[in-house]
Amino acid sequence: MSEEEIRNILEAALLAAGRPLTLPELAQLFDESQRPTAPVLHAALAQLDAQYASRALELKQTASGYRLQVRARYGSVIARLWPERPQRYSRALLETLALIAYRQPITRAEIEAVRGVTVNPNIIKTLLERQWIRVVGHRELPGRPELLGTTREFLDYFGLRSLADLPTLAELRALEPLEPQELRLQLPAADDGEAAEGGAESARAPGGDALVAASSDPAL
């Protein structure tokens, strides 16, 4: 069997498997009578990798074996194949954020008291990183727990002039529950920018009106 054929078979197997293959697995591809020795296989793999030198591919040896992968340099180009599905924040995060907005300044313990469950520290971290909340002080209790409040960025993001633009609890009662899933279906990824803009605009209207508009929104 020619060196080229050995390379072809190895390449075919690695590409068809789509997972790392060990040297024994690669050796199993050949009939026993013409099975290349380990050094021959190693050499063939090295040649294969050399062939990829000017290409977007590379051969990589990992703990689980050999695998072909796209060079990191092409990663960002390839990433376009998977248009970023907008991530979603959890219900817990939204509730925490809403509680901080409505009941600020508020400590984590107080949030937990209302929600009835512990608040995952990652939620606070995410909200701080997003600069939607900030630590505005400490409650003088054992442990001096942080008091959390919302930020200017929070208001900007949601298109509010001030927290007073948020609906009161009484007004909230009128809100229909909505399924986040449904909402996502209505907002295709490509439209995100627009959707966010639209949302901000309607929210910029005086609180009450915005909510009326929101609940008559077909997206709800």
Partner: protein, 307 residues
């Protein structure tokens, strides 16, 4: 009914080898042992005195996809053109198979019996004297059967062709490589105001906030201002009371700030201190257990407290 047949010259390929029923290779696994017998003549000749294991026959007979398939097999075995079926002979052989199946008590699909009747009918019509203009294909009693056989055969062939097409994960494989980690820059999740409000509504319902609290719009701006005032106070440092007010906000804003400060005092979050009577007020974040030193009737600047 006039069969819609194109006139095409000659026969492209009557296979020289009598085709084994239904592409024998299509079912090698189930039938390996007994089927070997079937590729040869002994079974097809059907000598009554030759012992054939009933299981073998059964498998052989079941290999047919129906009466049309069985007929095609018989015709091919005779090595005759489908357009020139020796109807009497084929009928005789067909009936033998049917009888055999009945003898073996195979479950005989009704279609086999219908075909038997059809064959018998064609055979009898072939024996009838035909009108002078015989030769017209419409008059050939076999026409309909031939059309059906051809139609079935072309799809039998098409099925075999389809089976031969390079098929994913049998013949060809999609080439793929593993993706590297996703790029570091990720779009941040988008949240709509409605989503957040709904979340709050639900937590409020759960916590029965509706029942015990009355959050007014005014109160919301107060709470916001509470955060702002708190954030403006540096640890342990005194801030002049007046510095917490922004006079460009007008009377309403000043009021809100003042209420916020009162609320912060009430919650023990800040201390308001006065060094001497009528001296300037100072505010700082609460450090020790809060001591309430505020003189509550202290008028707010510009009389903002008269709400």
């Amino acid at each position: 009914m006039k069969p819609d047949l194109k006139v095409v010259v000659s026969n492209p390929a009557p296979s020289p080898v009598p085709a084994a029923p239904g592409h024998a290779e299509a079912q090698p696994e189930q039938v390996e042992m007994p089927f070997a017998i079937l590729n040869g003549e002994p079974i097809t000749a059907l000598p009554r005195d030759l012992y054939i294991p009933p299981q073998a026959l059964e498998i052989f007979l079941e290999a047919f996809e129906g009466p049309l398939d069985l007929l095609l097999y018989l015709i091919r075995r005779q090595n005759v053109d489908i357009l020139d079926i020796p109807i009497a002979e084929i009928t005789r052989q067909y009936m033998q198979y049917i009888e055999l199946m009945q003898e073996l008590q195979l479950e005989l699909a009704g279609e086999y019996l219908v075909m038997a009747a059809t064959l018998a009918e064609i055979k009898s019509r072939m024996l009838l004297p035909r009108p002078a203009e015989a030769g017209d294909e419409e008059q050939d009693p076999r026409a309909e059967l031939v059309r059906r056989l051809q139609e079935y055969e072309r799809f039998k062939r098409a099925a075999a062709d389809l089976d031969q097409l390079p098929r994913l994960e049998r013949d060809v494989w999609i080439a793929s490589v593993q993706r590297l980690e996703r790029p570091l820059t990720r779009a941040l999740p988008q949240v709509t105001l409605q989503e957040m409000l709904i979340a709050f509504k639900e937590v409020a319902v759960r916590a029965a906030l509706f029942a015990h609290h009355h959050v007014q719009r005014e109160a919301l701006s107060v709470r916001e201002r509470m955060s702002n005032v708190l954030a403006a106070l540096h640890q342990d440092a005194f801030v002049p009371f007046m510095q917490l007010f922004r006079f460009d906000e007008g009377r309403a804003g000043l009021t809100v700030t003042f209420i916020a400060i009162l609320e912060l005092v009430r919650e023990g979050l800040i201390e308001v201190l006065q060094a001497e009577p009528y001296g300037p007020l100072h505010v700082r974040a609460a450090s020790a257990p809060p001591t309430l030193q505020l003189v509550t009737d202290q008028p707010a600047p510009e009389g903002g407290a008269d709400t």
